[in-house]
Amino acid sequence: MVRGFGWAAAFPDEVWEHVFSFLAADADRNAVALVCRAWHRIERRSRRRVFVGNCYAVAPAAAVRRFPEVRAAAIKGKPHFADFNLVPTDWGGGAEAWVEAMAEGWPHLEELRLKRMVVSDDCLELIARSFKNFGVLSLVSCDGFSTAGLAAIAANCRNLRELDLHENEVEDNCLNWISHFPESFTSLVSLNIACLEGDVNTSVLECLISRCPNLKTLRLNHAMPLEKLVSLLQRAPQLVDVGTSKFSADHHPELFSKLESTFAGFKHLKSLSGIWEAGPTYLPAIYSVCESLTSLNLCYATIQSPELLKFVSRCKNLQRLWVMDLIEDNGLIAVAASCKLLQELRVFPSDPYGVAPPISLTEHGLVAISAGCLMLHSVLYFCRQMTNAALLTIANNRPNLTCFRLCIIEPHTPDYISQEPLDAGFSAIVESCKDLRRLSLSGLLTDRVFKSIGASANRLEMLSVAFAGDSDAGLHYILSGCKNLRKLEIRDCPFGDKALLDNASKLETMRSLWMSSCSVTLGACRQLALKMPRLNVEVIDERRGRPLESWPDDFPVEKLYIYRTVAGPRSDTPPCVWTV
């Protein structure tokens, strides 16, 4: 064996690049980059995909400089709780800094995915003009742009393959933006405009679809009437993923049979979504696709249980099901019996603020699913009651769970039979499901559950906690355990300074920590910021006008967002945010 590693230096860089190209995971590439300067150089020049989980963790220019040959970038902005209006709208997460840096340093960028960022029309125009080979634009939960910006993308991105707009707030000021796709444009593979409010010109869309033979995904928005939808879909029988518009209309036998034949023509359909406002009238028309579906998203479909049951139980090959609680326990029991390949289930509440629950969806539905669907690994479940026994059963049935998010709608709800906290149930989940990566807690919980989580949840990466715990011990258990924790978000829990300060170094191993309506004081934040210079400790307070410096140490912090960063404090903080 040759001494040392000298022989490796004889290999040209391209060889190592080729070797590294087999490393898909960023973590592996990061490890490789630490081996020696040569590998660091080679790796950085060959990295093609970059994922920035927190847009403020690194300066855009620095990222672009380090990896000059990136073709695909994904960037996330606001904290997750921004989805629930807990983050001020002007908090930040603007995309300009990134887009400008990328326009400068990555002219060959092909794919850009932004989540929870503020994207302006100017940004979109810059994207449209800067990247010659731009192919994929995905905007998820973003805001700040309008259809005028989309028009710029349509007009300039000659090789656009994917335009994915998922749950964005988009201002509709350019009604005909679709017509900005030039006649010569034929490269579209995926179009998702489900979140757009306004009417889309159907005939223009029809032309577009007709000239794009590779179109596989088409998700339309709510506004399109059923007849127009049908004529549109008829032009693309090759679709694999369809998101329909409104699925209700007065009953017309002709429309029904057109719908039926259109859907019967879909030989490759795997994914179905949309189906807003579905009535029992037209749903049977699409029974023909049920057998082939692997993904069904009915989370906006207000279909009642009987029809829902009939539809879903035909979908024998379903792997992912998103549905409203209108499916009820009976429906879920039917799903458990029919959909043996189910991997992911999400059940959303149809009436989350309602007073009395008219929906008969309880813990029994979830237990049935956990028993019948052996491949189930991801759950999001909104319900109003739960028992420890049910959670224990679920834990025993499905040790393969990787994502378990349970939301019992009323805070502090105990086990409704025993009246005890749900500590035992959730403890069973973390103890049984060794690969659990994401967990959301709800219901009545004491510090005991956090002890279990800290001790057992070794693979846990994201934890969401609300209205739980008795004391700082709870937070301490989490921060001193949970080896792989990346994101922790907490609201309305009695967690305070001591646990935070005692575990300060843990925070640098995590992406971010959010705490709101807890018991943290400004003094602790100051201490933390002093102790940990590579953390940004952001205090968010929308109540006061006075600057942070003048507040005393015992001042209670309303909202706290702590994240690790190599970029130092950011320069775009709004008035309600202070970096301590």
């Binding site: 709780f81 989805d83 629930f84 209006n85 939960s141 749950e167 707030e169 709510h222 807003w276 009535g279 906006y300 207000t302 009642q304 249980s305 009987p306 509440p349 149809s350 989350p352 009395a356 629950p357 008219p358 008969s360 109003r384 009651q385 019992i408 709608i409 009323e410 805070p411 502090h412 709800t413 105990p414 409704y416 025993s418 009246q419 005890e420 906290p421 500590d423 035992a424 009545l444 510090d447 005991r448 002890k451 969401s464 609300a466 209205f467 008795d470 004391s471 700082d472 011990a473 609201r491 309305d492 829990c493 009695p494 305070g496 309506s517 018991s519 004081t521 109540r543 015992d554 209670p556």
Partner: protein, 308 residues
């Protein structure tokens, strides 16, 4: 491990005094939402308007504002802060915490029960029973028990539903969903039935009847107690000997008209549309005095006249 260990971690002695579970009783009412305020009160001087309102409204009902959340976190700062205007009366925070302890840390105690601690005191069980009495959480905590409206004030960002989803569902409401009166999809359809002059209303399940005849018989049974007098005065025989359209006879003879409110909010005469259509659109019923029903049931009035 017994709960006290967790509390000992901080070095604070927790008040586990099994204080008045009675306190728990009154507090249980809105407790589910009061808990929000309790936790937030842990922040001295926290005076975001939402919380303030909640607290202000519930102060009257539950003067023993629970402060142990604050206690745990930073008992020193409380004394220094001087921002405890919110803590009811300020003084006796120990006592209050104790009582509040029954409210808040019954969790701990019940948690103790969860541990199977033999020493679990009666309080835990009592509190537990009270919880049971309050029924399932889904029942609007507090609304049935006359708690101040603040108890139902919504918590910001809870339940955790994306604002996009909230907005979408708001603009496209679940049209198939019946309003609070109808429990659609569960195989029953309860609607209120009121009768002019009766001291209280009744509820009937429209799904248990398949035609107007059965329905009218049932209504008659329900409300005959209120109309015996009138029946008698019109010479209509008593309840035995049920016959077809008895309700119509009974009503037309006794100056009453059966009406219903449909989905659009209009008051309609019962009997015009097929039974299925009626059950679909009926939201509530009202047995109207004939004198109010002028123009609504001309036939009824005529029948009445004809009889007499």
């Amino acid at each position: 491990m017994p709960p006290p260990l967790e509390h000992d971690y901080i070095g604070l002695s927790e008040l586990h005094s099994p204080a008045a579970a009675v306190g728990g009783g009154g507090a249980e009412d809105g407790a589910l939402n009061l808990k929000d305020t309790e936790l937030r009160l842990g922040l001295p001087g926290s005076d975001s308007s939402d919380r303030k309102d909640k607290v202000a409204l519930t102060l009257g009902l539950l003067p023993k504002i629970f402060v142990s959340g604050a206690k745990r976190g930073f008992s020193d700062t409380i004394d220094g802060a001087g921002k405890w205007g919110l803590a009811a009366g300020g003084g006796g925070s120990e006592v209050e915490a104790g009582k509040g302890g029954a409210l808040f840390s019954p969790r701990g105690e019940r948690g103790g029960g969860g541990h199977g601690n033999a020493g679990n005191d009666a309080v835990g069980k009592a509190a537990g029973h009270e919880r049971k009495d309050t029924g399932q959480v889904g029942d609007s905590a507090g609304n049935d028990r006359g708690v101040a409206p603040a108890a139902k004030a919504q918590v910001v960002g809870w339940p955790p539903i994306r604002s996009y989803r909230k907005n979408t569902m708001a603009t496209n409401p679940t049209k198939n969903k019946e309003d609070a009166n109808g429990k659609q999809g569960l195989g029953c359809l309860y609607v209120k039935v009121s009768m002019d002059g009766a001291p209280y209303l009744r509820k009937v399940d429209l799904k248990t009847y398949s035609n107007y005849k059965e329905f009218s018989l049932a209504l008659e049974k329900m409300f005959s107690g209120f109309t015996i007098g009138q029946c008698g005065s019109h010479g209509i025989p008593g309840r035995d000997g049920l016959s077809e359209s008895r309700l119509m006879d009974f009503l037309s003879g006794s100056e009453y008209v059966l009406t219903y409110e449909d989905r659009d909010g209009d008051w309609m005469l019962v009997g015009d549309v097929p039974w299925e259509m009626f059950t679909d659109s009926c939201r509530r019923l009202r047995i109207m005095k004939g004198s109010d029903a002028i123009g609504l049931a001309p036939r009824a009035m005529e029948k009445c006249k004809n009889r007499n």
